[in-house]
């Protein structure tokens, strides 16, 4: 690194950050330099959802643990017309640790290196009455008394692009172990080469089958190797842990996103559920399907044991399990 030009790097970084437009976030006061990014994949007007905000610093630290406050302002619908009045009351967002990382229970918000804490802040349930672009302003106090504020813009859709809670679940025939002509890596991207599928218990049945049999199911759509969000592996591991603990309450299914990553071929079941009209497909997503075949819960990006476990524990034992 010493041989590289530091001023050049600074210019590069500044140039790289010079784009405009409404996307995900903006910078905070210069003292801490915390930057906010809304990482929720989908928020829909008039539907209760979960707003997830990641807070990071320029030196690659995450804000972790505790709670932060959120305030909201409406920016408009993207047209040139002045924005109609729209408001949302302040909310509190609690830290959601990426599964497998420290939860920091009882701790105040703290800046951590990735190895010591990683996660996002979630406000749930939260319902926005107006579709369009909103600004979230996150604020809080660190353990040393430092105050911080960071803002991030986000979009609220006027209709859901992903199967929503209460909807009938798509009856997808996802590939399972033993299906002829299906490579192991198409079931789990970690099974490339001669590697075994880490969680074979997640690949024994299809979504269509569990719905037909009237069984509840927890389904995770993820690609642990080729994940863009970096949350797929930990979330998939969490679902495998829950499968071991609650095998008598629900079926557990992992749908790998890619049939063939190098060719860009997506598994049909993943496309059934996650591919939007604009051609985007984001992962991971986790869905709880009820015994009635309807979607009982959905979680994008990060989902934690504390969010899922009470729901699984509340399910009655399955007959024949």
């Amino acid at each position: 690194m010493g041989a590289r030009s530091l001023p050049g790097l600074i210019l590069i970084a500044v140039a790289a950050c010079s784009w405009g437009g409404i996307g995900a976030g903006s910078s905070a006061p210069a003292d801490l330099g915390i930057v906010a990014e809304v990482v929720s994949y989908q928020l829909v007007a008039h539907q209760a959802g979960r707003l997830l905000v990641a807070l990071l610093t320029p030196d690659n630290r995450w804000l972790s643990f505790g709670e932060v406050g959120l305030r909201f302002s409406y920016l408009g619908d993207g047209s040139s017309a002045p924005p109609a009045p729209a408001t949302h009351p302040p909310a509190t967002a609690a830290f959601l640790a990426i599964p497998g990382t420290p939860e920091g229970t009882g701790r105040t918000p703290t800046l951590t290196l990735p190895a010591d804490g990683r996660g996002v802040y979630g406000a749930e349930p939260i319902t926005f009455d107006t579709a369009g672009y909103w600004m979230a302003s996150a604020s809080g106090t660190l353990g040393d008394g430092s105050l911080f504020t960071a803002e991030a813009a986000f979009n609220v859709l006027d209709h859901s692009e992903i199967p929503a809670v209460g909807m009938s679940a798509p009856r997808s025939e996802n590939a399972v172990l033993g299906d002829p002509g299906v490579l192991a890596s198409a079931l789990d991207s970690r099974a490339a080469g001669d590697q075994p599928i880490p969680d074979p218990e997640l690949h024994r049945t299809s979504i269509a089958s569990v719905i037909a049999r009237g069984r509840p199911a927890l389904v995770v759509f993820s690609t642990p190797v080729y994940c863009v969000s970096r949350f797929c592996g930990p979330v998939t591991d969490l679902i495998a842990e829950l499968a071991a603990a609650y095998a008598d309450r629900a079926e557990f299914i992992h749908v790998e996103i890619y049939r063939d990553f190098e060719s860009g071929i997506v598994n049909p079941a993943a496309a059934d559920w996650l591919l939007t009209h604009s051609g985007e497909l984001r992962e991971p997503w986790t869905f709880l399907i009820g015994a009635d075949g309807r979607i009982g819960g959905s979680w994008d990006t990060v989902v934690t044991r504390s969010e899922l476990e009470p729901l699984l524990a509340a399910l009655p034992p399955m007959q024949g399990s």
Partner: protein
């Protein structure tokens, strides 16, 4: 984690900060994939990926230190590198696949004898990706 008496340490710290600025700050307005298309920002990402992998390899046999170097310096940069739109999917796949092997090793608290060759494989796939993007790949300094 950095030896501050090391003349290169300050530059590394600054570079890491710049990297994070590029990675995190740029997400303010663009997608991660777009972030690496900005003129020059990929140079910073590539340097951080290499630097983190060199540090992790040098930290062995201390697996804990290697894990921290990998997670704190290399991990995010490797994801950004693999997401570079001009990178062939086959090369991106190799980066992500070899990275997953290292992550598996770390999660399993693998021995240095297991982790070292897997870090080497990841560094090789990373270098291949960097060179394919027309960027200079640097060897690990002793």
């Amino acid at each position: 984690m950095w030896a501050l008496h090391d003349p290169a340490a300050h530059a590394r710290i600054a570079a890491a900060a710049i990297l994070a600025f590029a990675l995190a700050g740029c997400r303010a307005t663009v997608t991660p994939t777009q972030a690496v298309t900005a003129s020059g920002s990929l140079v910073v990402v590539a340097a951080a990926a290499e630097d983190g992998l060199c540090r992790a390899a040098a930290a062995l046999p201390d697996v804990g230190s290697a894990r921290r170097d990998f997670e704190n310096v290399a991990h995010a940069a490797l994801h950004e590198l693999a997401a570079a739109p001009d990178l062939a999917r086959s090369l991106a796949a190799r980066v992500l696949e070899t990275m997953q092997v290292v992550e598996r090793d770390i999660a399993a608290s693998a021995s240095p004898a297991v982790l070292a060759p897997d870090l080497d494989a990841l560094r090789s796939s990373t270098e291949a990706a960097i060179r394919a993007l027309g960027l200079p790949a640097s060897p690990c300094l002793p």
